[in-house]
Point group: C2
Chain length 300, copies 2
């Protein structure tokens, strides 16, 4: 494997990091043949259905910004994909968003049934902590990573809390304050944790960790704004999930509150703020800068 140098395009860099993350997932997730087979098939089905691996890639890039390719970082990074995928499987259940299509293929419960889908989500969340407990780094860093991930995935300002606000906000009058609360927790917390976990693993000092948090906050907001915009603008085939669901379910989204044009402008502001946050870093943070641009300018 080549070192993560700057001599490649962002597309090449992303493809290489995706492969590293997929390799780590391949190592950590039990093979389909492990008993009971159905649960491992379901876990692998959803994990390897073609996610973009944005969270692990941000984690890897954050670690690189702090130090040269710390050994074993890809195992830490892949736990973010385990948690993200669990949240997608549970969100897609009939009892929640009731979605049939995800990452371009039928959702986990459409293929394996609701019971196995619920348990596969539980299993991916559980596995994330199994992996973190077995990382190559020291115990203090493992504990810091576990604290970071569990808090970001939790109910108070974390992913589950955001999901609850999102569910309960459906059909309510769209307003900026509620939108910010939902976003910060539902997608923002895990994206921010992605950056912080990369920093923690690589031994970031307080100043660096604050900068990564700030970058993560702005990139997370930009990511969500663009996600909402694409849900309006793009067809399902391009997104790999059912487009137009937000409006259909009367979700509170950025386009619903601010309109498309203002939403795009806000994403651009967040992109610039993300760049500003990286000022304490030298050119080793170049991939983070490029990733902020990519997140705002993506088409799916």
């Amino acid at each position: 494997m080549r070192p993560a140098g700057q001599a490649t395009t962002l597309a090449e860099y992303v493809a290489r990091q995706q492969a590293r993350v997929d390799d780590a997932l391949e190592r950590w997730v039990p093979p389909e043949s492990t008993l009971p087979e159905s649960i491992h098939k379901a876990m692998r089905y959803s994990l390897f259905a073609g996610g973009k691996r944005i969270r692990p890639i941000l984690c890897l890039a954050a670690a690189e910004a702090v130090s040269d390719a710390p050994a074993g970082i890809e195992s830490a990074a892949c736990t973010l994909e385990l948690v993200h995928t669990y949240s997608l499987i549970h969100d897609d259940l009939p009892a929640l968003d009731n979605d049939d299509l995800r990452r371009g293929v039928p959702t986990c419960h459409k293929v394996f049934g609701d019971a196995i889908a619920i348990l596969a989500g539980d299993a991916l969340l559980t596995l994330a902590f199994q992996v973190l407990a077995q990382l190559e780094c020291g115990a203090d860093r493992k504990v810091a990573l576990i604290a970071e991930l569990s808090t970001a995935a939790g109910t108070v300002g974390g992913m589950i809390g955001g999901q609850v606000c999102d569910l309960e906000g459906e059909g309510r009058h769209p307003n900026a304050a509620l939108l910010e609360t939902i976003h910060r927790a539902k997608t923002g917390a895990l994206l921010r944790a992605s950056l912080r976990m990369g920093g923690i693993y690589a031994g970031a000092d307080h100043k660096q960790l604050d900068a990564l948090s700030c970058y993560g906050k702005h990139v997370g907001l930009a990511f969500q704004i663009i996600d909402d915009v694409l849900d309006v603008e793009q067809p399902s085939e391009a997104l790999g999930k059912t487009a137009g669901k937000d409006a259909q379910q009367h979700k509170i989204t950025f386009p619903a509150v601010y309109g498309l044009e203002r939403s795009r402008a806000m994403a651009e502001e967040e992109r610039l703020a993300a760049h500003l946050a990286l000022r304490p870093f030298d050119k080793r943070a170049e991939r983070l800068r490029e990733l902020a641009d990519f997140i705002v300018h993506r088409r799916a």
Copy 2:
């Protein structure tokens, strides 16, 4: 609070330990007023619906067998109840066992709906690792505890794996091998982890940890046998959950494979084996001995 001495009856000891565990849960679980309120209400509803706290109490008693009342052990112990309660909430969902009654009250999804019940389960599991990452003990012990709990709750020989085998075994011909596989994973792994976590927190050496594992294996088996027997013998009011569900759902149980009389005899054998396992311990393991007796002789 009095020290956990031997001058009290087992009933008094259990009541005191239950209160310690409930105090710890009260401290670690966000208040109902914390936003979003619905998720914290659902988490607390299921946690404080009157569980026996058998797993945390085994954890506390194991720690006492190794050393004198290590500070903060009740926080580690309460994570076992967080994980156990999450598993009950998810198991009771319509997509799984579809149960209406648990711990004597309507199940979580009957009160809060399926969506909040799914997320409350997710939240309790996540919180368990948040708590473990913040224990008073050193980082090495925290990591060992997290590894222990996540493995016991996982898919390979752990709780989720057992739940999948149980679901898939419904309606199949009852046989001893499948029964053992299901039990060892579904309830055995977490009960065994309860003992081991108590030992780890208290600084058990290898020999002590092996003895606690062995005790946990036998007590876990005894616990499951008696659980299956009570499901046949006792009315719902005594159990606090719907009685007779196992037969109704064609679950593979000990009475189904061995009959009631032989099942009771097997539980008695496991009780004696649990006592034998404790031979390396002095009288500080007396509560563990009494708990093995209690588990086999209980009526609910």
